[in-house]
């Protein structure tokens, strides 16, 4: 807390925190069954921290839901488990593998795990009867997100209708739903990537170790450095080399590229991001690169 008492000034990071906490409390007060969608990435970890602060000294009054693609980095799962046990929240894991086995989603061999996550997620939300699902989306990430509301309405098919969004004024959020509909809630809509890192540094928040520079065996595919893994078999002509790298985003390990980096502390990461010339998604997310409107399409279908 950095309060200058003389003029009652609140830094922008404190203002963002206050806004996000307000949103968490509003949802907990107005929705019957909220759930926090946890990806293991830094954004959803910041969300856990904000939720912890919003209800302290009470525990977070809703469970945490993770979609397990079967292709998650082990370091991410370890961090998740630390957080869940420290906060004493209930963890629900929705497995893409199980969803495929149960016929909830169809793996045609061409569709990425990231896309199969959509069906798995929607099914888990429906099965759990969740009426509000917190997501760590930020409006600075991508053009389609820039127009999404903090309370983002989803119809009974889980779809987002960008042309028919409810107006959102002041900090008065409208959480009205019909049977079968739910709301996606984005408490960190107004945070930028730098804000997230600044906050992680300030709060000394534990994030998966793969965000920090480390030695890793990697290979190049479609211009990205991917991690060597049994889950991601090499294709012809691909060659494994060892490099000093870190990940800027965390997702499906078959699609999430790393960047060469010596940044092994938060300060160095912040310095590196400040000079970055490529957006975090553009640099390292295979799933957003297929078309300029890739994210918009996935969101309409019910992506985070």
């Amino acid at each position: 807390m950095s309060v200058t008492h003389a003029d009652y000034r609140l830094s922008q990071l404190d203002q963002l925190e206050a806004e996000s906490i307000h949103i968490f409390r509003e949802v907990a007060a107005e929705f019957e069954k909220p759930v926090l969608m946890f990806s293991g990435g830094k954004d959803s970890i910041v969300m856990m921290r904000l939720a912890e602060k919003a209800f302290y000294p009470a525990k977070i009054p809703f469970p945490v839901l993770q979609v397990d693609t079967g292709l998650d980095f082990p370091e991410v799962l370890a961090t998740r488990d630390n957080w869940v046990s420290r906060l004493g929240v209930r963890l629900i894991v929705a497995s893409v593998e199980e969803a495929i086995a149960n016929g909830v989603v169809v793996d045609d061999g061409k569709t990425s795990r990231n896309r199969l996550q959509i069906g798995t997620l929607l099914n888990a939300l429906e099965e759990g009867g969740f009426t509000a699902a917190f997501g760590g989306g930020r409006r600075d990430e991508e053009k389609a997100r820039a127009k999404e509301r903090v309370y983002s309405h989803r119809d009974e098919f889980g779809q987002w209708d960008p042309k028919n969004q409810r107006p959102e004024l002041w900090s008065l959020y409208n959480g009205r739903l019909h049977e079968g509909e739910h709301m996606r809630i984005f408490p960190i809509s107004n945070w930028t990537e730098l804000d997230i890192w600044d906050y992680i540094g300030r709060e000394e928040i534990e994030i998966p170790s793969i965000y920090y520079s480390h030695r890793r065996r990697v290979f190049q595919r479609d211009g990205m450095w991917l991690s060597e893994s049994d889950l991601n078999p090499l294709r012809e002509g691909e060659e494994v080399v060892e490099k000093t790298v870190r990940f800027r985003t965390v997702g499906d390990l078959s699609l999430t590229g790393c960047v060469e980096s010596e940044a092994d502390t938060i300060e160095k990461i912040i310095a590196e991001i400040a000079v970055a010339t490529v957006t975090e998604r553009g640099a390292t997310r295979g799933d957003d690169r297929f078309s300029e409107a890739a994210m918009e399409d996935r969101k309409k279908e019910g992506y985070f």
């Binding site: 509003e26 912890e52 919003a54 009470a58 107006p167 004024l169 409208n174 300029e292």
Partner: protein, 432 residues
Amino acid sequence: MSTDDTAAVPELIGREADLLRFATAGSVDDGKSTLIGRLLLDSKSIFADQLEAVEATSASKGYDYTDLALLTDGLRSEREQGITIDVAYRYFATPHRKYIIADTPGHVQYTRNMVTGASTADLGLVLVDARQGLTEQSRRHAVILSLLRVPHLVLAVNKMDLVDYDQETFNRIHSEFTQFATKLNIPDLEVIPISALKGDNVVERSEHMSWYSGPTLMHHLEHVHVASDRDLVDVRFPVQYVVRPKSDEHHDYRGYAGQVAGGVLKPGDEVVVLPSGMTSRIAGIDLFDKEVSEAFPPMSVTVRLEDDVDVSRGDMIARPSNAPQPSQDIDAMVCWMTPQPLRPRQKLAIKHTTRTARALVKDIQYRLDVNTLHRDQETKELGLNEIGRIQLRTTQPLLCDPYSKNRWTGSFILIDEATGVTVGAGMINSGS
């Protein structure tokens, strides 16, 4: 990641940086998207892959220059139509401030989007085309920003390059607007001649307008004083959520969580809980695991009281000598946001601070023509994007202030109970 371009290293945003939220209004033709693109580009908030994508698109469309507007046109349908139809939020930062831009479309059929963008803005930026001067649209934008009590207004006279940077043209628009603004409530006005396309007076001072001695747009955004816009006198704390851990460690803990909407709260202060009227003192103010010595807007805190009084969500904590009047009869300006018109006798849900009630439309007093400020008292309904003065009767007392006094406790939304959609935005004149 490419880190070799050291010339482009922006200074880090300081931890103590402020926040400035501003709303832009103007149509495609006024060059609004180009201006935002310019601010993002010149403040080095655009990444290489974003710039490459718009350069490629501009080239494929056969443009002579990179269309910076493409940076901000988000949804595909908008890109296809070449217009901005929804509020889009943009971010950039300098070492001094972080900026949140609510980018809103300018046409009259999108008034509701502009109202939405203006609702949270500290500053409103209206663009006019120097060749055309003030239009009905620019007047409307100023009216809406003033109705929404956006405390600072900037009129950017754009496309100065197309009028040969002519001082006379600028002066004419300047005085015409200043005259119009006297009819509105605009506490702070700045008029700046710019060219968003060429970059004159946006971030860099123009070499073509030596006759202009005022600030560049960026300089003004960096230095406009917004801290004093908050109400630090009248304590208003709408209770959002009651924190009761029910754990062994915090067995007796009972705290009232919320975001401070006005005034400064301190431990030991005598307070009144509305609408019950019970009084107590503040035992402590918690911010996560720390106690703080004071809380002020817009802090989210948890307040503990000395006495075991009954407090629940929707209640408000204020000072006994300075509390809002609970009221079920509300007089307000409303912007209507849905195609089915608002009519007297209609019943709606109303959300005001953390309290939700039902409201009956008792009367529509007049419709305000946002282009001429004419009050049409003959009308018996408000259509989509229309603004008017109405009277409501609510099922529960609202703990309200005039919007002119406090934007948090003076605002409400109206919700259609059948569809669940937000259909109106209200600014309270008075409760009685």
